[in-house]
């Protein structure tokens, strides 16, 4: 297949990598530190506070498992959108991007319902170190999911207007970010719900 506009060369000559991809991985690198700081601190403090296990019992493994499946599936739909871009299958791009946006919204809705249940039961931030960390980590993650949903929704709108082709490499960039958000949840899930 000939090189198409979907892969418009934007290489940074010293690295021979597309500048957008290099920049995005640089950003993800800093995000690993951001989440790593919270996750690392929580891990150490959790080991030092075995009594936090009692608080963790109040979390619903069922809800979190559903959300895990939702997010893993959204990563699949996102990467399928990326493949459809490469194959210039425009209807498939729209379908898979739409699926990713929908699943992202489902995740946020389930998270909101989970939070409201906990908050109304008095499990608020600050009542213990566990709950402070729980809301900080899942809240920061949810903000990242929301940002990803917005980005993907914008790409979907552009695709629906038939104007995605000139900027199609952005689907790959958005995908990298979305998979990272999924990666963070892959660790938050066992850390908070299964430990």
């Amino acid at each position: 297949m000939q090189q198409t506009q979907a892969h418009a060369p934007t290489a940074s000559s010293p690295t021979a990598l597309p500048t957008g991809k290099l920049g995005l991985w640089w950003f993800l690198s800093s995000e690993i530190i951001t989440f790593g700081g919270l996750i690392g601190s929580y891990t150490v403090l959790r080991l030092a506070h075995p009594e936090w296990a009692e608080a963790a019992q109040h979390l619903s493994v069922v809800i979190a498992t559903v959300n895990t499946v939702v997010l893993l599936t959204s990563s699949l739909t996102m990467v399928l959108a990326f493949r459809a871009v490469d194959r210039q299958e425009d209807p498939a791009v729209r379908t898979w991007l739409g699926g990713t946006v929908t699943l992202g919204l489902v995740f946020l809705l389930i998270k909101a319902l989970e939070w409201s249940g906990k908050l109304s039961a008095g499990m608020v931030p600050g009542v213990s170190g566990f709950w402070s960390f729980y809301y900080a980590m899942t809240g920061l993650h949810a903000l990242h999911v929301l940002a990803g949903v917005v980005v993907n929704a914008v790409l979907l709108l552009v695709a629906l207007r038939g104007r995605l082709r000139p900027v199609a490499q952005r689907v790959e960039m958005a995908g990298l970010y979305w998979h990272f958000v999924d990666l963070v949840w892959i660790f938050l899930f066992p850390l908070l719900y299964l430990s």
């Binding site: 090189q3 892969h7 290489a11 690295t15 021979a16 990598l17 597309p18 991809k21 290099l22 991985w25 640089w26 993800l28 690198s29 800093s30 690993i32 530190i33 790593g36 700081g37 996750i39 690392g40 601190s41 891990t43 150490v44 403090l45 080991l47 030092a48 493994v61 498992t65 895990t68 499946v69 893993l72 599936t73 990563s75 699949l76 996102m78 990467v79 399928l80 493949r83 490469d86 490499q169 790959e172 995908g175 990298l176 998979h179 990272f180 999924d182 990666l183 892959i186 660790f187 899930f189 066992p190 719900y193 299964l194 430990s195």
Partner: protein, 91 residues
Amino acid sequence: MTGERRHPNYVAVWYWLLGLALVSVSLSVLPLSHTFTVVLVFAAATAKAWLVALYYMHLRFERWLIYALALVPLVLFGILLLVLLPEIVSR
């Protein structure tokens, strides 16, 4: 370089991800020792993370510089854990 793109079997990876998630949840409800369960659950999480990173994020097909950007912060994360370790040991 995005001219020749390799697209692995994404759906197969998804099945593996779901399977590992299911294994993790199942392990957490079995009457095993807590330490053993936690180790296995995080091993499964690491495997899932590797699958997403290698195949969905295409790290498997990227140049070394991208690997470095992904791995260096993980090393820093490990250092953070080591720095905080006395917090547990002293208790």
